[in-house]
């Protein structure tokens, strides 16, 4: 078996080297590097390719097809749901070298960018022109636009501006057939079905994006950031709903629990009140009249909910300091335990308090530590389970606790994922939310793009979704799934 694999890999490598030269690699070190993403799963690919052009990507896909080998596009590998974890010894197509901002077209308010451009690099390049790219995942310093497209990524500021799909006008993609096409368009209403909308968030199972026209969002003339602290988590959660019910749509509305406040403060020294049970980070942006009126509404609502202090950042420096804590919270968890598992579910805002309580109970039951830093404004929970991988049996406890958190969120009327995607992590939980026929329909739609299952196979939809033998996904017999 192993020798068969080896000779098949060698032939495939020779074909890929013919196009890419030394940018097609099979050394153990790089295969190891590309065996994981930000999730806890892992499995090495057969070969790693580093294309520089869309033409090379199309060639890679065609070669993979000739050799009957699946392929897997990968951006920065920051995904948390295992979407970029290799399954079935695929060829990894890493887009890191496709990192050009091809054109900034202010006349149409779009920028054409390659998939390897980093999210924050793009916004920094646009700032002098008065624009930015609105989706801002916490990983924005390192995550790529291609990964944002694959996962339909969010971020704190998606509360007001919407997630990635609302900011992608057009995509140049290499289809699983090896053909290159453009989905969507810069024109107002591209003709036909919205293939662009279907592709965004499809986690690489419908092809590989090689260029995108991203929408430019004008920078707000006025921004205010507030920090509110509460003695009681439920008062903080209630304030979240009350702010929205008061008719405000803050540009961000984030919550941190006491453990999060402690570790973030120790790291960022932003003056977070470490004695508080919860803090809310509220940002309002837009024209100055609405922003200042909004600050007063937030203040009034907070007072009704027994806020401890209302701190309004005085200047950009203080704003940046408040955000520094939030954006680096996940890394700061290392102060408690060396490893963490970051979850992602969404619940109705009105159920935040009760689901948070359940999260703490679940963590306790599995002897884990839960830390909560999340997008409260859209009910998007991000429970962090801190643990030490060296403890025997801890992986199983972490996974079981994760499943219970997902189940509790869905029980409360929520969904599986707000922004991380399904990937491998939640593939087998899809049936908690969707009926068998719902999943069958989704798989039929995927199949229209990739009837032979070459593109990132066995992700998103659980394998049991097709009752018949027609479930075609191109993975060798006995492959690790």
């Amino acid at each position: 078996m192993a020798s068969e694999d080896d000779s098949a890999d060698a032939a495939l490598l020779a074909g890929l080297r013919g196009v890419l030269g030394e940018r097609a690699r099979d050394n153990d070190f790089e295969r190891g590097l590309y065996s994981r993403d930000g999730s806890i799963e892992g499995s090495p690919p057969a070969i790693v390719c580093l294309p520089e052009t869309a033409v090379e990507v199309a060639e890679i896909v065609r070669i993979c097809r000739r050799h009957g080998r699946p392929f897997l596009a990968r951006g920065s590998g920051t995904g948390l749901a295992g979407g970029a974890v290799p399954v079935g010894r695929p060829v990894v197509v890493a887009t890191a070298k496709m990192d050009r901002i091809v054109e900034v077209d202010t006349g149409n308010r779009v920028a054409w960018v390659e998939p390897g451009v980093l999210n924050l690099d793009l916004s920094r390049a646009l700032t002098p022109l008065g624009f930015h790219f609105a989706p801002d995942p916490s990983s924005q310093q390192v995550c790529s636009i291609g990964g944002n497209i694959a996962n339909n990524s969010g971020g704190p500021h998606c509360l007001a501006y919407g997630v990635t799909t609302a900011h992608i006008a057009a995509l140049e993609v290499v289809l699983p057939s090896g053909e290159t096409t453009t989905l969507g368009g810069v024109e107002a209403e591209p003709a036909g079905l919205d293939l662009r909308g279907l592709f965004v968030g499809s986690e690489g199972t419908m092809g590989i994006a090689t260029k995108a026209a991203v929408r430019l969002t004008p920078n707000a003339p006025s921004v205010r950031t507030l920090l509110l602290d509460f003695d009681d988590v439920s008062e903080g959660s209630a304030a979240v709903s009350a702010i929205i019910a008061a008719g405000l749509v803050p540009s961000a509305l984030e919550m941190m629990d006491q453990r999060a406040i402690e570790i973030v403060e120790a790291f960022a020294h932003a003056g977070y009140p470490t004695e508080a049970a919860a803090v809310l980070l509220v940002e309002l942006d837009g024209l100055p009249g609405g922003v200042e009126a909004g600050v007063e509404i937030v203040r009034e609502v907070a007072l009704k909910h027994h806020v401890g202090h209302v701190r309004v950042a005085a200047d950009d420096e203080e704003r940046a300091l408040l955000w520094k804590g939030r954006k680096n919270a996940f890394g700061a968890v290392a102060r408690i335990k060396p490893d963490y598992y970051l979850h992602d579910t969404v619940v109705p805002r009105s159920r935040l308090t009760e689901v948070l309580e359940q999260v703490y109970r679940i963590a306790d039951a599995y002897d884990l530590i839960a830390v909560n830093v999340f997008h409260a404004g859209d009910g998007n929970l991000h429970p962090i389970l801190a643990f030490d991988r060296r403890e025997p049996g801890v992986d199983e406890r972490v996974k079981a606790a994760g499943r219970d958190i997902v189940a509790a969120s869905i029980e409360a009327g929520g969904v599986l994922s707000g922004e991380h995607g399904i990937g491998l992590e939640k593939r087998d939980y899809m049936g908690m939310l969707f009926s068998a026929h719902d999943m069958y329909t989704q798989d039929v739609v995927r199949e229209a793009f990739d009837p032979d299952g070459f593109a990132n196979p066995l992700k998103v939809i659980p394998t049991g979704s097709r009752c018949s033998d027609s479930f075609h996904q191109h993975v060798p017999e006995g492959a690790w799934v």
């Binding site: 079905l193 009910g379 399904i422 049936g431 969707f434």
Partner: protein, 330 residues
């Protein structure tokens, strides 16, 4: 706070398939009796089309003669102002939805030319309204869809929360598909607060310069000679932005003239400038790239690769072409 859900709203679907959890899949546990009845009406055999208010009946061409006509269920079934979501039957008129939401100061900016249009009909056409510049395309307002497929089965996609990436984005595929892939039965839409102030201005200044001058105006319309600009938001901001436009010759007005609906031409926003000096009979959406014309416009072409993908989708989702036959999406 919330409105009375329909009595049928909480009725579990008969025969809903079970998932891996004991409770079964959560989205299937909340299927309204009206939706189940609609699915039975769609059935699985003969050619069938859904009639809304016939305000956009000619979009995509005429229905095949003799096709059985049915109606999607209507009614606002659940509205949670603090969640900023609303669940309604696809046959609900935009006027009814707007009136319901206005009671709590909310809206869904669908803005059809005629608000007798049904929510489902408008989404099937995928037509955004004149405030798209500010609020985005209508497909970005859709959180969850529940449609009936060609076999008469109910399919739920998306999710009830304001943020969700669970599974493939079928709602975006259905918006603009003219009911050729499935019939919308129920949708959950994102709501927004009604802005506290709104002001139209009109003038003969350059609308492109005006657009660049303003921060996120709600609408900039132009007919080659005159422009109409909608400002929405806090009263102080609306007044300040209006002042910026005064030197360019814009003054308060009641609103734009009726927007033509016979032809809908799509171009890049930057291409609109070239319309200056062309014969009248149109109103363009500056910053968006839509041109509304008094005469029909030839449909834009789809690339062969995209047409092949669209055909594959149609073939797999409605192999006998029984859903809304005669209508062409591409």
């Amino acid at each position: 706070m919330s409105s009375q859900p329909s009595s049928a709203g909480a009725t579990p679907a008969a025969g809903a398939s079970t998932g891996p959890t004991e409770a079964g899949p959560s989205l299937a546990a909340n299927i309204a009796a009206e939706v189940t009845a609609f699915a039975r009406e769609v059935g699985g055999d003969d050619p069938v089309t859904v009639v809304g208010a016939r305000t956009h009946w000619d979009v995509g061409g005429a229905a095949l003669a003799g096709t059985r006509e049915i109606r999607a269920p209507a009614g606002v079934w659940e509205h949670e102002p603090s969640e900023m979501t609303v669940r309604c039957g696809a046959g609900t008129t935009v006027a009814e939805l707007a009136a319901h939401l206005a009671r709590t100061g909310q809206m869904v900016p669908l803005d059809p030319v005629d608000d007798a249009a049904t929510v489902g009909g408008l989404l099937a056409c995928g037509f955004s309204g004149h405030r798209r510049l500010r609020y985005g395309h209508v497909r970005d307002l859709v959180l969850q869809t529940r449609h009936v497929d060609a076999t008469g089965k109910i399919v739920t996609a998306g999710g009830p929360t304001v943020k969700n990436v669970s599974g493939y984005d079928l709602p975006r595929l259905l918006v603009g598909s003219l009911g050729t892939l499935g019939f919308l039965a129920e949708v959950i839409l994102r709501t927004l607060p009604i802005p506290s102030a709104a002001q139209w201005l009109a003038g003969d200044g350059d609308p492109f310069e005006a657009f660049d001058l303003l921060y996120r105006p709600s609408s900039v319309l132009w007919n080659g000679a005159h422009a109409w600009i909608l400002l929405e938001g806090d009263p102080a901001d609306v007044a300040a932005e209006a002042n910026k436009l005064e030197p360019a010759g814009f003054a308060a007005c009641d609103g734009p003239p009726p927007i033509p609906s016979a032809g809908r031409e799509s171009m890049r926003p930057s291409e609109l400038r070239a319309l200056a000096g062309t014969p009248g009979g149109w109103i363009a959406e500056v910053g968006v790239g839509l041109v509304h014309r008094v005469a029909p416009v030839q449909a834009a072409q789809v690339s062969p690769a995209n047409a092949a993908l669209m055909s594959q989708l149609k073939q797999r989702l409605d192999p006998s072409h029984r859903l809304n036959p005669g209508r062409r999406v591409w």
